[in-house]
Amino acid sequence: MIPLTWYLLVAAALFCIGVYGVLARRNAIAILMAIELMLNAVNLSLVAFWRYLHPERTVGQAFALFVLVVAAAEAAAGLALIISIYRNRETVDVENIDLLRG
């Protein structure tokens, strides 16, 4: 049997990888992917908790599903934004998108 800790550690690691990606990638799409990674990490821990703490309750899985939906919506909207940005500015490089520079 696999201890719950293993899953949690994997999830945490995946999440941190995602954080790193979000913070360090230049390309907006890449950042989006990193976010997807983070969401997956969350899902993983959700399901792990469901399995080990309350397999008889459906909350864990249900929330994982909701996260999935959110991820889908986020991908759709985010990519649409990125594409329209690309149309206007010929770049999806976050470092060049700094209209708010003080």
């Binding site: 979000v22 913070l23 976050v94 003080g102």
Partner: protein, 714 residues
């Protein structure tokens, strides 16, 4: 019974829906179809009105509505052990609101048909108005702070959209943005309060928190580590901040007068009858929390804050109202001032009085606004009527009271209704609703001040009394300038009575403004008291609280006092304006007050202060104040009275200006500028930099909550 209760709850839950649906349908389908859109809007409000009446009257028949209110909830998000629940709650307080809100709004909706006729964005107006109505009703029937906050914010948006309704006018959209931003300040704090309360109690349901002694006790005894306040006190103060924003209390009152840029029905509905009173309503709702805080740690701090802010605002706004020439701005300031009354009442523990004044005020203030609207309407039409053909040199302002006069003859219905509203506002003894509610507040204050001999009620009483005088004064001034004497402009000369769709609501509201007060006649009152039996309103609404507040024993002194106060104010106004009506082009007699007039006219320069223009006005004011000494001699006897009164305040104000304005004022200004210069470098505009910091913050928290305890363990 149980069954009936659930049915009632269901009805209650249905109340906010019709306007909301109407909003959707109008904005989607009825866009360029005026008749349909106002039919939809009014129809929907009418439905809500009927529903709420049904609920109200059946709520009356329920024994001990306070203990067993009409309530039902559904789980919204079953998270962990504390599901977020949505639900409806109608306790006595909610019931009276439920009686007032749809009635007033229905009147205003009908009125709008006449007022907005011929506006290009007719449908948008009604769509927004309906959405607003839906939000307001949601707020009233809400059984928890979260729902209340949702309604609250939606109303904020609608207010913004409607103030800026004529967005082509720069002043309009500036006012809109100003209103939105100013209220934001309060709302954020309020949200904090809500979150704090949820974190502490695990529920936002009114009934669970406010009618649950254990919870209150715990809340009152847990320290909040902020200024030595108890959790209850802190939470109630945070929530109160929201009220300060929404109900335009000092120091966040600046937006309300500008909000008059919106169409008049909007001013009547949002900025007089419903939304701004929603702020007060919230405070009244959370009163038990406030009360709990009183006995707990931090003592009466919360009470002091609420009471003083309320009373001071009441006074300040009244003084400002004296010096306005814009008919709507006068009303705006009187609104602020009256709201201050209610909050002051809450602050001195006069729970029922506050609620009472809230209701009556809603009626007569809506009436006044609609009346002024009909006047403005008439002025505009008169202007067109008079003005076609020859051109006008100076831009015409239909709101300027100095341009009016003599309208009483030209538009009798408006005049009489307006008179009724005005007298109610001034608290004309016995025959107006305003008197009873205001009297109850003053009575409570008096009771606390002179019979219990406490300091806070004394201050409150003095401020409120002064404010009452001023109220009477500017009301009379307004009525006189607008309706009496001779027309001072061609427009006024050609003004004509408004259509029935506008006068009808006026009449109905006037009835309530006059008779509404009799539901709260003190029991011991000579003749009338015997006539109406016990103080129904007090008994009913008092039931909302855990321990029923006892009605004050009847005491003639405050009653007489407050009647005198009201009459004095009216008399003064009459002396100055009615005795010898103003001729065209003649300046307002108050100008002779010199600096004080200017000072008031410029609304204490608080706006300027907020625009970080500090120094000049202060110096300027100072030297004028000195000059004021000089020409004091020339001012005749009557002016002495007012002058002395206002002047003695003036001293305090000069101090206020020196210390607050100079010190804090440009202190803040400089600090902000400097900080801006320094921090500018930080704003790279790169999202990821910000994120980096955010994550750092998260790390900080992790350390705080996990690692630190471990270390402490060693």
């Amino acid at each position: 019974m149980e069954n009936q209760g659930t049915i009632l709850a269901l009805l209650t839950a249905l109340i906010p829906w019709p306007p909301f649906i109407a909003f959707g349908m109008i904005s989607l389908f009825a866009n360029r179809w005026k008749r349909l859109s106002h039919t939809l809007a009014i129809g929907s409000v009418a439905i809500s009105f009927v529903l709420s009446q049904v609920v109200f009257w059946s709520a009356l028949r329920i024994e001990h509505l306070g203990e067993h209110p009409i309530a039902a909830r559904i789980p919204w998000l079953p998270v962990g052990a504390r599901p977020l629940e949505f639900g409806v709650l109608v306790d006595p307080l909610g019931a009276v609101m439920l009686f007032m809100v749809p009635l007033v709004s229905l009147m205003i909706f009908i009125y709008s048909v006449g007022y907005m006729a011929g506006d290009p964005h007719y449908s948008r107006f009604f769509a927004l108005l309906s959405l607003f109505e839906a939000a307001m009703l949601l707020l009233v029937v809400a059984d928890n702070l979260l729902m209340l906050f949702i309604g609250w914010e939606v109303m904020g948006f609608c207010s913004y959209a409607l103030i800026g309704f004529w967005y082509r006018k720069p002043s309009a959209y500036r006012a809109a943005v100003k209103a939105f931003m100013t209220t934001r300040v309060g709302d954020v704090l309020m949200l904090l309060g809500i979150a704090y309360l949820y974190a502490q109690t695990g529920t936002l349901n009114f009934h669970d928190i406010l009618r649950n002694p254990e919870t209150l006790k715990v809340l009152a005894e847990t320290p909040s580590y902020v200024a030595g306040l108890s959790v209850a006190a802190l939470a109630s103060l945070l929530l109160f901040a929201g009220t300060v924003g929404k109900s335009a209390q000092f120091p966040l009152h600046v937006w309300l007068p500008d909000a008059m840029e919106g169409p008049t029905p909007v001013s009547a509905m949002i900025h007089a009858a419903t939304m701004v009173s929603a702020g007060v309503y919230t405070t009244i709702r959370m009163f038990p929390l406030l009360q709990a805080g009183q006995h707990g740690l931090g003592g009466e701090t919360a009470f002091w804050v609420v009471a003083l802010i309320g009373a001071f605002t009441a006074f300040m706004a009244a003084t400002m109202g004296v010096a306005q020439n814009d008919i709507k701005r006068v009303l705006a300031y009187s609104t602020i001032s009256q709201l201050g009354y209610m909050l002051a009442a809450v602050g001195i523990g006069a729970y029922v009085a506050a609620a009472f004044h809230l209701i009556t005020h809603a009626f007569f203030k809506a009436l006044l606004f609609l009346g002024s609207g009909s006047v403005i309407h008439a002025m505009e039409h008169g202007h067109h009527h008079a003005g076609h053909g020859h051109s006008h040199e100076e831009p015409f302002d239909p709101n300027d009271m100095l341009q009016m006069g003599g309208l009483a003859r030209r538009m009798p219905i408006t005049f009489w209704t307006f008179l009724a509203g005005g007298l109610a506002l001034a608290g004309f003894p016995l025959i107006t609703a305003g008197f009873w509610s205001k009297d109850e507040i003053l009575g409570e204050a008096f009771h606390g001040a002179f019979e219990k001999g406490e300091l806070l009620p004394l201050l409150v009483f003095l401020l409120l009394a002064t404010a009452a005088v001023l109220t009477g004064f500017y009301t009379m001034r307004q009525i006189a300038l607008t309706f009496l004497g001779e027309p001072r402009s061609p427009a006024a000369a050609h003004a004509a009575e408004s259509p029935a769709s506008m006068t009808m609501p006026l009449i109905i509201l006037a009835l309530f403004a006059v008779l509404g007060g009799y539901v709260g006649v003190p029991e011991g009152f000579p003749v009338l008291g015997a006539l109406f039996g016990q103080n129904w309103f007090h008994e009913f609404v008092g039931g909302t609280l855990l321990e029923h507040p006892e009605a004050l024993p009847f005491n003639a002194v405050p009653v007489v006092l407050s009647s005198l106060i009201a009459l004095t104010g009216l008399a003064l106004g009459g002396l100055v304006y009615a005795r010898r009506p103003l001729a065209a082009g003649e300046p307002d007699p108050l100008v002779r007050l010199g600096p004080i007039y200017t000072f008031l006219r410029n609304r204490w320069y608080i706006d300027d202060l907020y625009h970080r223009v500090f120094v000049q006005p202060t110096l300027w004011l100072a030297e004028r104040a000195v000059a004021f000494f000089m020409d004091r001699v020339v001012i005749d006897g009557f002016l002495h009275g007012v002058a002395d009164a206002v002047w003695s305040m003036g001293g305090a104000l000069r101090l206020f200006d020196r210390v607050v304005v100079n010190g804090i004022g440009d202190g803040i200004g400089e600090a902000v500028k400097a900080a801006g210069r320094e921090l500018r470098a930080l704003q790279t505009g790169l999202v990821q930099n910000y994120l980096l910091v955010v994550v750092l913050g998260v790390l900080g928290f992790i350390v705080l909550y996990t690692v630190a305890p471990m270390l402490r363990g060693f």
